[in-house]
Symmetry: C2
DNA sequence: TTATATCGGATAAATAAAATCCGATTTATC
DNA sequence: GATAAATCGGATTTTATTTATCCGATATAA
């Protein structure tokens, strides 16, 4: 019932890239250091983000990662499902056949509803909003 | 981001006991068989449910488990938190100190809100409702 | 007293998460 | 071109968690 650290790191990475701006290439080491992510692990995570076209990986000297979509269009759900696959709370939500009770089980319907509610919450949160909220917070000092 | 099997089994067990009725003692083997739960594992789970006063364990010959609260008062959240501890989606929701970003991080607020929404959904679902819904479904054949 | 149950602590097995390693490859710069 | 600075991506290792079982102790009905 919990986020994996992999997801958490992915969100942090994208948050950092959003902050730097859409077209800017930022080195892996720098992201890892500033966001407290184990460097080589970030590499692995980046590969998954790249497969989902959330970032573009630039190789070679001065290489790094660059955000592809604009932060307005990019949601928490996009990033999380890029590294975790589809979000759901119980196997039977996705594969009803996995349980003999599923034809009559109303617990399953609760999990289904809760899953959709959760995905909806994440879908509604864009990185643009997150950045805006944080900068407002900081400027109100 | 997923329910453990332990939780799933706990819910099934309580569902079965609710169905049988509040004062009835049902043997562990029978519950395990009918609900497809590994027998000894159910024993462990039952101990946790007993600690939270959700069931009472009757020892000795003809022993087994008995539901303590009435199904109207008992919610999915009660059962799940009895075996998992408090439900939350990310460490920083419960322990803000676990992350250096938490003072300004708005992702954290999303996790917090989503966690509360999830708990609310589970809190609203009583076992009485679940049973009723299933029996309605069955009688509409 | 015996047969039937569960208890509860310890432990084993299986699975998944988290992290790292390293040869290959790509690119900027001199 | 040669060199240095990056990441790639597959394999592997380490660690943590989940899942399940074992067994001597204990409790109860008959
Ligand atoms: S018992 Fe219900 S909730 Fe549990 S796995 Fe089966 S269908 Fe899903
Ligand atoms: S970065 Fe934000 S969401 Fe992630 S752990 Fe830290 S406080 Fe929580």
């Amino acid at each position: 019932m919990k986020l994996t650290r992999e997801c958490e790191y992915a969100v942090r990475c994208v948050l950092y890239l959003s902050h730097e701006g859409k077209e800017i290439v930022v080195g892996r080491r720098r992201i890892a250091e500033e966001m407290e992510i184990p460097g080589p692990f970030l590499g692995k995570i980046a590969q998954q983000l790249a497969r989902s076209n959330i970032i573009e990986i630039v190789q070679g000297s001065k290489g790094g990662f660059r955000l592809v979509p604009s932060p307005e269009k990019l949601t928490l759900l996009d990033v999380i499902e890029a590294v975790m696959g589809k979000v759901y709370l119980n196997d039977c939500v996705l594969r009803p056949d996995s349980c003999f009770r599923s034809p009559t089980c109303h617990v399953r319907l609760v999990w289904k509803a809760a899953t959709e509610r959760l995905r909806e919450t994440l879908r509604k949160t864009s990185f643009a909003k997150l950045l805006e909220a944080e900068s407002e917070y900081l400027s109100s000092d």
